[in-house]
Symmetry: C2
Subunit: 244 residues, 2 copies
């Protein structure tokens, strides 16, 4: 397992600064995870109060994004970090954008939950959506965990859920079209279900982005727009070749 170690700094103030933004990112991550989980529960249980919670939490997530960004910029301006430290700071400024967008998607799901709460609840309590939701919750959790431990092996596992997410997403879309055709009175509800599925699919994309920043942070390799197999073989070649 390859990890990066923060404890090598001569300046302990610098260490503290880096640790502090990293801790803030994880705090922001925890908040966003809670938003996602609450938005799905609000949908399944038609719990309008919970949905309103998610919408309210959004302001805090946005505030954290701006604060962390400012802290990163301060570090860049005053510490001029190099190598791994620079990559850590850059990875954080990028990851918080994805976290904020996950929060946005959770808020959209909460809005959908508020709309659907006024309709009769289906017997299955949106089973497929809950299933897709659990899949992407795992992706977000694993990505944040990989970030916390700076563990690129763990980060590489995040995109492996992708195929399952795609299958689940496609199946929900097909089902919604079928329901709409069978009963046009269901069109509005089914549109909301397709929007919720789309929002969850995007959450999975953002989790993958965060995982990519972890790999970049640890290895200095930009793996965006690269197939997973390619990334794995590249990293394997580097570690076998003894490259840094």
């Amino acid at each position: 397992m390859e990890t990066t170690d923060l404890s090598h700094h001569i300046s302990s103030r610098f260490n503290e600064d880096l640790e502090s933004v990293r801790a803030d990112l994880l705090r922001m991550g925890g908040l966003v995870e809670a938003q996602l989980q609450k938005s799905l529960a609000a949908l399944a249980d038609e719990d309008s109060a919970l949905a309103a919670d998610v919408v309210r939490d959004d302001a805090q997530v946005n505030r954290l994004e701006v604060e962390i960004d400012e802290a990163c910029l301060r570090i860049l301006a005053t510490r001029a970090p190099a190598a791994g430290d620079l990559r850590l700071v850059v990875a954080i400024t990028k990851a918080i954008t994805d976290l904020e967008r996950i929060g946005d998607e959770a808020r959209k799901i909460a809005h959908i939950a508020l709309r659907l709460a006024s309709l009769e609840r289906p017997a299955d309590r949106y089973r497929e959506i809950r299933h897709l939701g659990r899949l992407v919750e795992v992706m977000v959790h694993e990505a944040l965990d990989a970030f916390a431990r700076m563990d690129s092996d763990a980060a590489l596992r995040v995109p492996q859920h992708d195929l399952q997410v795609d299958e689940e997403y496609e199946s929900i879309q097909r089902q919604c079209v079928t329901f709409m055709m069978e009963d046009p009175r269901q069109i509005r509800r089914m549109l909301d279900v397709t929007w919720a599925a789309r929002a969850l699919e995007r959450v999975g994309d953002h989790a993958k982005n965060i995982a990519e920043y972890v790999i970049y942070m640890v290895h200095g390799q930009d793996v965006r727009h690269t197939r997973l197999e390619e990334v794995q073989s590249r990293l394997r070649a580097r570690s076998e070749g003894g490259a840094p």
Copy 2:
């Protein structure tokens, strides 16, 4: 009009580096604008070849994103830029992410165009979508133009199109639901039209993000998650107070 001037550097190499990433960003912007424009033309004219073009261009946009990001990181690592220069570099790393996402949305519209090309073309050639498309094209163009001239006044005008985009988007959604209810055979096509509208709405969001980075770059104020009126009055207060 407040602008930032790049010509003050003692090191002409540093100047060149900054100018070069800025030029690359604008080149990437031009490419993405072309993608968007082509994807809309592909939809209106059921031009599958044009749609395939957009999908193909995506690889180039992705490559540019990675290249520009690497160049920015090199500047941060070797030049340790301060103040306005640092903000310029950070703004570029953020803006390219939004540009890449605009390219993604254009690619989605191109895919929709490919699917719809097999259906009978409606007499109005997706008039509403084309209209919404023109609105967000203007937003993207204005945002890139503000970036090129580092003109925060021009950047402030970008979000002013928002209300119109929202109205247009809502009207398309309502219309699609009506069509679906009237004729369930239209459901698949109308779903594609709603996806295209959603993609365009997101393009407008990304254009707004880019405009916000311009304001941040010029004034050092993070204006994300802030209402436009609030931003305007803050900037006015600063310029009247003679703050930097």
